[in-house]
């Protein structure tokens, strides 16, 4: 270390001396370079090297013309928004054309639901416009299979995993029904096809949904064309050339092996009100980041369901219920969550009316004479053997009842449990991927790392931020807490885009950016937990910790040891779960003289890993995230550092160790002495002292030895006579 310091110092001296020399020859250099300088403007275009989109792709792809409709059809080309009617028409049209795998429905037929309540089809109609939410049952041979009398759908197969995809809980979040519609168009168009060159570059299925430009076509564009969606990320999700050539066979396989329940627009009342009254059809102009959120329940005037007043301030209105606060799991609690101050309470001019979660349920739901004695939280609060049988509130709305009954009545294999092992709910905005819990902060659930794993993958796919729902803000009674908490379904909430009402020209690329997510959910719907387990295990194999030879030991201070993590790995920075184990092994100071080096046995220390804003290359060649731990070591330490990383997931279920214990238990890094060796002057003083004592002492004794006259050193006076006598 000392030598490297001195060499860099001498470099500086060297450079300092060179400057005048360079200055002297600078004019000469300039004159030589002059012809080159004149050429530069000509070759300047070469600086921005790369292809134009037209050089690579078909005109249709370049202009984002989708194959399922004529290019002049703005709605189907996702250049303008659907409304309730056009959406419904399109769904019916597609179902009519593709009866082998699409079956159109509105609401549910009704009957006795899973809770024993007699339901009629009208109970699923919106309060005001009286629509039942349109939905599509998607599976191969949808006309066959079991018929579900309550839900009204055919094509129920016990061996096909079910997935529920729900758009638009919140009326103003228009992208949340555009993305499902885009998904439906894509699915319908490509189902049964094989090997299409979607982008017209001559290659087939070369770039599937993962948020990465796998075939490098976008990256080969000139720089100005690489960010076609203008989000600031070159060749990121939603850009031309990224995930543009997916596998049609995959789509076909998914439709053949899954039952997809696609509900593009749950809150039909709210959407119509927002689009027709509250903001208007060009809401992006006046309501870019505002609008009507809830359904159209009338909370202020009993018995009547008036259209909420157009002039009403959203926040001061008690009309409407926030559907994504109206599910029953932990409904209304805790009070700290965003929601009204008191469950079921809505005051004019009160706070948080925009997230009003519906009325309190004062019924004796189980008929035992008690009210609200067993709230929906997954436990038997009153110890009567039944769980969550008398709820405090929630599922009071037609829309949420629709979801509740569709979920609870969809039991293909007759085991009493919901079939939906995976569920997805689209919202906007904020560019997020969220997973349960939402109702409590800093609370893990048993599937934490698995939920996080899939969430991270979908975050990578969209370049959206992936986090636990309550890390954004706590919510109670949302779709995903209910699905996960009550039905053990892996449930994700997508917060699409950057506004409630995005500009129409942004619809298409936002939809493209988000369409991989439902496909991913469809794929994992068979067993999301097992897929996470396997996935995490696979990612751990590609992650690595710095080898001793790669560690840069700084000339002073802490020693950084880095790791390269897969960004989908549900890493926790909690030091108790993820940490670097290290110890400094030094030679014992009491070495035997002839044996091998003996080392002091010391116990391991922990130091935490900190996420760095650096990328690294995983063992499989993909990009990873770098985390670094600093070993605090004094500069005077000499010896070997043994280190290994213990990598925990968010609930600590996987203490993965690096290096892999199959190959080595730890790595060993030699640490040289890094402190200064001492001061030359003090050393000289010490040398003088030691030399005086030892060499001087030796000289003194030798002189005394041969100096017979000198007498006896240190002889006390009172003893001298003895010597004298004997000498005499």
């Amino acid at each position: 270390m000392a030598s490297s310091n001195s060499s860099s110092a001498s470099d500086e001296v060297y450079r300092a001396r060179r400057i005048p020399a360079v200055a002297l020859i600078l004019p000469l250099l300039l004159s030589v370079a002059a012809p080159i300088a004149m050429v530069t403007p000509v070759s300047a275009q070469d600086v921005e090297s790369g292809l134009a989109p037209e050089d690579i792709w078909s005109d249709d792809y370049v202009n984002q013309i989708f194959p399922w409709a004529h290019e002049s059809n703005d709605q189907l080309q996702f250049r303008s928004y659907h409304d309730y009617f056009s959406m419904k028409d399109r769904m019916q049209f597609l179902a009519d054309r593709n009866p082998n795998f699409l079956e159109y429905h509105e609401g549910l037929l009704g009957g006795v639901n899973a809770r024993g309540d007699e339901m009629t089809a009208t109970e699923y109609e919106g309060w005001y416009y009286n629509h039942r939410s349109p939905w599509m049952k998607i599976t191969a041979n949808v006309g066959d299979g079991e018929y579900n009398e309550f839900n009204g759908d055919n094509g129920n197969y016990a061996d096909r995993p079910d997935i529920m995809l729900v758009g638009n809980h919140h009326a103003r979040e228009w992208m949340s029904f555009e993305v499902p519609m885009f998904f439906l168009e894509q699915l319908t168009y490509y189902y049964g096809m094989a090997g299409i060159d979607n982008d017209g570059d001559g290659l087939i299925d070369e770039d599937g949904w993962d948020g990465v430009d796998n075939d490098g076509d976008c990256l080969s564009l000139n720089a100005s064309a690489q960010d076609s969606n203008g989000d600031g990320i070159a060749c990121g999700p939603g850009d031309l050339g990224v995930d543009e050539d997916f596998s049609e066979q995959f789509i076909t396989d998914m439709v053949n092996t899954r039952e997809i329940y696609l509900i593009p627009m749950l809150n039909t009342d709210g959407v119509r009100y927002d689009m027709e009254e509250y903001c208007g059809p060009t809401a992006w102009e006046n309501c870019y980041r505002s609008g009507w959120r809830k359904n159209l329940r009338d909370n202020t005037v009993t018995g009547v369901t008036p259209l909420p007043d157009i002039d009403e301030e959203v926040d001061s209105s008690c009309d409407g219920v926030d559907l994504n606060r109206n599910y029953q799991y932990e409904w209304g609690a805790p009070l700290g969550a965003t929601g009204p101050l008191f469950p079921g309470a809505c005051y004019s001019s009160g706070p948080n009316n925009d997230v009003y979660n519906g009325p309190v349920n004062y019924e004796d739901n189980d008929g035992d004479g008690l009210i609200n004695e067993d709230h929906v939280d997954g436990s038997d609060d009153d110890a009567d053997g039944q769980i969550d049988e008398d709820w405090l509130g929630g599922n009071s709305e037609p829309e949420t009842k629709f979801i509740q009954d569709m979920t609870e009545m969809n039991d293909d294999d007759g085991d009493g449990a919901s079939e939906f092992k995976a569920t997805l709910s689209w919202h906007s905005f904020s560019e997020l991927v969220l997973w349960p819990w939402g109702h409590c902060t800093d609370c893990d659930n048993p599937d934490q790392e698995f939920l996080e794993y899939h969430g991270n993958i979908m975050g990578d796919m969209t370049e959206y931020t992936a986090l636990q729902s309550s890390d954004l803000y706590p919510t109670t009674g949302d779709f995903c807490d209910w699905h996960y908490g009550v039905h053990n379904s892996y449930c994700y909430t997508m917060e699409i885009g950057n506004a409630f009402h995005e500009y129409p020209e942004d619809i298409a690329h936002i939809a493209v950016r988000n369409v991989g997510v439902p496909w991913y959910m469809v794929e994992i719907a068979d067993d999301p937990r097992y897929r996470a387990v396997v996935g995490i295990e696979n990612t751990t194999g590609t992650q690595w910790i710095d080898m001793p030879s790669d560690v840069m030991v700084p000339s002073k201070g802490d020693i950084p040891i880095g790791m390269c993590l897969d960004s989908t790995f549900p890493f926790t920075s909690d030091i108790n779960r993820t940490h670097l184990m290290w110890r400094l092994v030094e030679p014992t100071r009491q070495q035997d003289d002839f044996g091998p080096t003996e080392w002091i046995s010391v116990s391991w220390s922990m130091s935490e890993f900190i996420e760095k804003d650096e990328s690294c290359i995983l063992l499989d060649g993909s990009n990873g995230t770098r985390i670094v731990s600093h070993i605090p070591l004094p500069d005077t330490a000499v010896g070997k550092i043994q280190y290994k990383a213990m990598l925990g997931t968010t609930n600590g279920a996987f203490p993965f160790t690096y290096p892999d214990s199959d190959t080595a238990n730890y790595y060993e890094l030699s640490i040289p002495y890094r402190a200064p060796f001492g001061s030359g002057i003090l050393a000289l003083l010490m040398f003088t002292f030691i030399a005086t004592m030892v060499w001087g002492g030796l000289g003194f004794t030798l002189r005394a030895m041969f100096d017979d006259e000198g007498g006896v050193i240190g002889l006390p006076d009172d003893q001298s006579h003895l010597i004298d006598e004997e000498d005499l």
């Binding site: 003289d593 046995s601 030359g680 240190g714």
Partner: protein, 607 residues
Amino acid sequence: MAEGGSDEFSGRLGLIFATIGAAIGTGNIWRFPRMVGANGGGSFLVPWLIFLFLWSVPLIIAEFALGKRSRTGTVGTFRIFAGKRFAWMGLWTAWISTAIGFYYAVVTGWCINYFQTAIRGGLGSEVDTVEVWNSFLQNPMEVVFFQAIAVAITMLAIWKGAKAIEKVNVSLMISLFVLLFAALFLAFVMDLEDGSLDGFVYMFSIQPEYLAQPETWINGLSQSAWSCSAGMGMAITYSVYMRKDEDTTLNAATMCLANNSISIIAGLTVMMAVFAVVDDPLAAVSGGSSAITFLVLPEVFAQAPGGPVVQLAMVTMFFLALSFAALTSMISTVELCVRNFVDHGIERPQAVGFTSLAIFFFGLPSAVTWILVDDSTGVAFPQFLEVQDHIWGYGLMFSGLFIAYSIWKYGWNRYRAWQEENDISGFSLRDYLDNGVSSFRDDFINTGDNDWWIGKWWDYIMYLGFPLMFSVLILSYFADMLANVDNPWDPTNANGISIILLFWGITAGLFIGLNRFIIINRIVPTSGNPWPLALLSGNFTLEPRPLYRNVPEGAEVPIDTLPGGEDPFIVEVGEDLPETFVDDYGETRPHTGSIIEAEIGYSYDQV
């Protein structure tokens, strides 16, 4: 020899050189730099220097005083000073030294081999020193060959007794000084060349945090204790050959200071050379065991400035110096053992031959068995030898303790005698201090011949300081093993505690048990059977074993007042043994010693 058959050094310098040669060994040249590196450079020099005066010098003074009066080797000295029943302590002392000698001859052989390899150009910059070391160590024939050479040289050097030992030591020591100074100069040039002289700076820079660590002090003490061979009995042995008026105190100081002077020179040479060349010098220096000598230094010297000739000269000089240092220590080790045989009536050539052969044969296992390779470094090491060192190295501490015990015992006896003389009963610390504690110093150290008057401080060190330092050393050694060795109590663990205690226990038990039958008495078969059979059948008696003191002309001093001094069978060489002795049952019986006496007289006449 006709005057009494005594043997003595020609003069003061002869004694000094012999003792310095004994003290300076490989420990100065490879252990000292390692200790400096591992214990914070200059910080280590502080305790090292302090303990030179607290441990080494006082103990060597004691040894000189003991040997000069007893005029016998270690067994005789303890028989005389600690009393008959404690003569086994002398055997322990002799055994420890000899047991160390078993493997030290092997190590000396390594040094000689490295010298011959160096001079033939086999340690140039192009060689892989690990390869050289491993191939040598794993070749039993080579190791044994050089071990045999080491033993043979030693044997030749001591064959003729004190004067020859003196001559060999003088020439080897002077060569060693010259070689080391030359190497030091080259190392200085090397360290200076990279502009920093950092080896020198590190070696003489005190790092305060090291001074606060007990380990630094313990290592300073142990280095001081081993390096001067204090407590080993070497000084007792060599003082047998002192002239009558020889100084015992200034010689001790001179010897120890000379030893430490060489340590500094060797240490500086190693440190400067290593710091000049090696990237991570401290790891190389403190890395452990013999590695620095045989692995690092050849590599370092191969990079000395001045081209191949200088490099060859440097590495050759270093290993020649190392060989000389080892040989002179070897000489003292063998002489220590031989002296004890001669004391008990064995002819010197016989004793030398027997001891040398024993050292060679008992060293063979250390030389060739259990040669392992360190997994982490790929360096071979002799596990058997290592275990020997592990077991007997700290046995040396007990030799030192026994020397202190003799002094305590003498002091106590003198106090009791004084009480009787003055008709005083009851213990008084004041009287004990005046008439007991200081009596050894008054009677044997400040005799009037010495150039350095020893004050009360020596009493304090021997009575208080020594037991304290001894306890700290032994306890820290065991504590270190407890802390850093797996399964220290497993007796099959070669690096553990149990194996040490086991061997110490067996040895001490055997020696104590044999004390009466072998050491102070001897077995005389009463039937016609040869003596193993006689022993088994119980048909034997014991008679006192004669002890012959090597008292030079004019150095006769009575030893009657000593605890074991009244024994009539302790005689000066040339004196007649009593013809009878009184046995345990009070019967007066004839002694067979006259026959032996005749033999001895005959053999000395031949010389």
